[in-house]
């Protein structure tokens, strides 16, 4: 699963970039017409759409409602939602489809194969999650022909030879390879038992022996399925944090470069305007996250997939909590950055350095998921607000974080967000009306 996800991500990102750039180049905007003529040949009035506003009080609510409405209506939101849905669907459907294809193993049998051995082989297959179907072969040659043609997965000839189409490497973990090894052992054991002179009943009793349950001293790490789910969670977190914070940046930039901010600030204080923007875009992000979670649960139920098998409600909740905390932290940073630039090109140069901590946190989280244990550095990262949104949910899924550690990290993040919000509002205030150039850091510090 973790092998194909990067491809899904790369493909999705490419699709997004292409869609967005096509949108920008395809719509150059209509050119202004002479103004007196325009008034005369204006089309008949459509009834002006009424504003549907959130029931949020005050300026912050008004600003947030406008943001939310504009974003949810916009094409970027629809494409983003589609991408999130595709990622979720791929993560759930692809393993389910691959799993179904490998679920029946056909074993060709040439010559004799005793009933107890057959029963044991069938039981082994079921234990490994496969159905075993026996196909009677008239001869060893016929079995080889069927093997080459792919009609059967392996053949047992005369109860003493297990044949596969291709040689099986020691590291091969495919269903056929695992079954071939089991069948070889079982058939060999059955033959040895018969050679030892046991009766059929005795042989069956020995062959049917069940392995003892294993006891461990400490609980183990997560299994593969919950690993995948954690991985998808971290991936969606990184995707959403980057996308929505970029919206915050471009939203601030749009208001600055279109100069409407001067009209807005004449009526609303900078702190409230910024808070409304952050809140509105954050709500849009949460709508998208909710869509993703609902889609994941529905798809899992519909396909009887086990992709979410190891995922506890606590893990989902912790990911959602860190989506909110991470967004709140980064959005102020992005908003302040957006207020210092004047044009889209200048914003590009800011986006990479801003995305670095997200990428770093994401990278550290995926390697921790793969290795199944968390380093000391990773534990430290779980308490730093820029990386905590990635590190803490992973610690939760690894069972390596207690409730109070989670709460401590969340509290640190909230505290730093409040501090950062103040600094960002000050930077915003100092630079939002300075147009025509990029505001140098030195000047901001002085002010």
């Amino acid at each position: 699963m973790s092998d194909i996800l990067p491809f899904i991500v790369v493909f999705g990102t490419l699709a997004f970039v292409i869609a967005v750039s096509r949108r920008q180049s395809g719509n150059p905007g209509s050119r202004p017409r002479p103004w007196r003529g325009a008034a005369l040949i204006a089309p008949p009035a459509a009834s002006p759409p009424t504003l549907r506003l959130l029931p949020l009080p005050g300026d912050v609510g008004l600003v947030a409602a406008r943001e939310l409405r504009t974003r949810v209506r916009g094409r970027a939101f629809r494409i983003g939602t589609l991408l999130v849905l595709v990622t979720v669907a791929a993560a759930i459907l692809i393993p389910a489809l691959l799993g179904n294809k490998a679920s029946t193993q056909r074993i060709g049998v040439a010559g004799q194969l005793s009933a107890p051995v057959r029963a044991t082989v069938a039981a082994d297959g079921t234990a490994a999650g496969d159905q075993v179907e026996f196909v009677a072969e008239p001869s060893g040659q016929a079995a080889s022909a069927d093997l080459r043609a792919g009609r059967i997965d392996l053949a047992v000839v005369d109860g003493r030879q297990v044949v596969t189409a291709k040689a099986i490497a020691a590291s091969d973990t495919s269903a056929t390879a695992q079954l071939a090894r089991t069948v070889a052992r079982t058939v060999g054991t059955g033959e040895a038992l018969q050679a030892a002179g046991l009766t059929q009943a005795q042989a069956a009793a020995v062959a049917g022996a069940r392995p003892l349950p294993l006891t461990s001293l400490a609980p183990g790490g997560p299994d593969t399925t919950s690993k995948n789910a954690t991985f998808i969670g971290v991936l969606l977190l990184a995707f959403m944090l980057t996308q929505y914070n970029t919206w915050t940046l471009t939203g601030v930039l749009e208001e600055k470069s279109s100069r409407i901010v001067e009209v807005l600030l004449a009526a609303v204080s900078p702190g409230r305007l910024l808070a409304g923007k952050v809140l509105g875009i954050g709500l849009a992000a949460f709508v998208q996250a909710a869509v993703a979670v609902v889609a994941a649960v529905t798809l899992t139920k519909a396909t009887h997939s086990d992709a979410l098998a190891g995922v506890t409600p606590a893990a989902v909740a912790s990911t959602l909590i860190w989506l909110v905390l991470g967004y709140a932290f980064y959005s102020w940073l992005y908003a302040a950055a957006g207020s210092t630039v004047d044009r889209q090109e200048q914003a590009q140069s800011l986006l990479l350095p801003l995305a670095l901590p997200v990428l770093f946190g994401y990278g550290m989280a995926t390697s921790a998921i793969n290795s199944g244990n968390a380093s000391v550095l990773f534990h430290v990262l779980a308490y730093l607000p820029p990386t905590a949104p990635f590190a803490m949910p992973v610690l939760v899924s690894l069972g390596a974080a207690t409730a109070w550690q989670f709460a401590l990290s969340a509290a640190i993040s909230v505290g730093c967000t409040v501090g950062l919000a103040r600094v960002s509002a000050a930077v915003y205030r100092a630079s939002i009306l300075q147009t025509g150039r990029r505001v140098p850091l030195r000047e901001l510090v002085r002010q």
Partner: protein, 324 residues
């Protein structure tokens, strides 16, 4: 009767002093023009009214008390740098701005529709702002300053980029607002363009008021002016060398003459000028002219710099009104 008062506003950007103890007031019921050359500090002063400029000193008062955020919600502002959300629908945008200024949803929708109708852009209510012509964008921008029925209207260069019909339309709106008892302040760097639009003016230069008062007072005061045309003399050679007469302009033979006060050593009066003109040829045009606002400005600035020079050279300073 409401009153906006700017008192001692000072703002320095590093070595540049944008506002230098700027003080003036605006009363309701009249359109006040806020004039001065580019870079005089008009935009900075207007931004200061809305708290958008950090002041080193000074205070803005509304009806006698320091202006509050609640007061500012009842102000309307057209910034010099025009701006609307390019992708937002015209009516929605106006409703949004109305609501930010405290209107209820229904009132905001009604006011937006009303102003779009009055400014002749009702047909574009459901269009995106970016699809409008520049002229129509200007109208929507003007509507955005008016949508919440403000008590004070502050318009920064509302006439820039407008054709004569557009200027008339804006002038009508401003006069209407003033008649309705609102305070109206608008800026322009084209001094002579606005003479007819405003009843009183404040003229500033380098962050200070250089002249202010009723337009009628300012233009009738000062040295008398004549406009004289002598047929066949396009160069105005006849007027050269006349004692106490300065040619300030020659518009294709129509000379604009500034006469030295009669009390001065080289005093001149209209009668002697007319005699000199008649001696030079047939006079086809002769009239007494008012001072233009640009002349008011130039004279005030030159008096000020003369005074400043006098101060720096240590000569005694004659105190006199700057608007004379």
């Amino acid at each position: 009767m409401s009153r906006l008062e700017l008192d001692g506003l000072t703002r320095a950007y590093g070595p540049v002093t944008a506002l230098d103890h700027l003080s003036f007031s605006v009363t309701s019921g009249a359109v006040t023009g806020f004039l001065g050359p580019n870079g005089a500090g008009k935009t900075t002063a207007m931004r200061a009214i809305f708290g958008l400029t950090a002041l080193s000193a000074g205070i803005v008062r509304w009806n006698g008390a320091a202006v509050t955020r609640a007061d500012r919600r009842r102000f309307g502002y057209l910034p010099e740098e025009r701006g609307l959300y390019p992708g937002m629908l015209v009516a929605e945008q106006l409703e949004y701005l109305g609501r930010l200024h405290g209107l209820a949803p229904a009132a905001a929708a009604a006011a937006a529709a009303g102003w779009l109708e009055r400014l002749g852009v009702a047909g574009r209510a459901a269009s995106k702002v970016e699809s409008l012509s520049l002229g129509n964008q200007q109208r929507v921008q003007l509507a955005s300053a008016l949508v919440h029925n403000p008590d004070l209207l502050v318009l920064d260069e509302p006439l820039s980029g407008l054709d004569p019909a557009g200027i008339d339309a804006v002038g009508e709106v401003l006069a209407g607002q003033a008649r309705a008892g609102k305070c109206v302040l608008f800026s322009s760097h084209q001094l002579d363009l606005v003479e007819d639009l405003c009843e009183s003016v404040v003229i500033i230069d380098r962050g200070r008021v250089v002249a202010s008062g009723a337009v009628d007072d300012l233009t009738t005061r000062g040295r008398p002016r004549l406009v004289v045309r002598v047929a066949g003399d396009r160069d105005g050679a006849w007027a050269r060398g006349l004692a106490g007469v300065t040619v300030s302009e020659n518009d294709g033979g129509a000379l604009r003459l500034v006469l030295a006060p009669r009390s001065a050593a080289e005093g001149a009066d209209p009668q002697s000028v007319l005699r000199a003109a008649m001696a030079a040829g047939p006079v086809t045009e002769f009239g007494v002219a008012r001072r233009r606002l640009s002349e008011v400005f130039r004279e005030a600035v030159s008096q000020r710099s003369a005074r400043r020079q006098a101060v720096s050279s240590g000569a005694p300073v004659l105190r006199q009104g700057v608007s004379q």
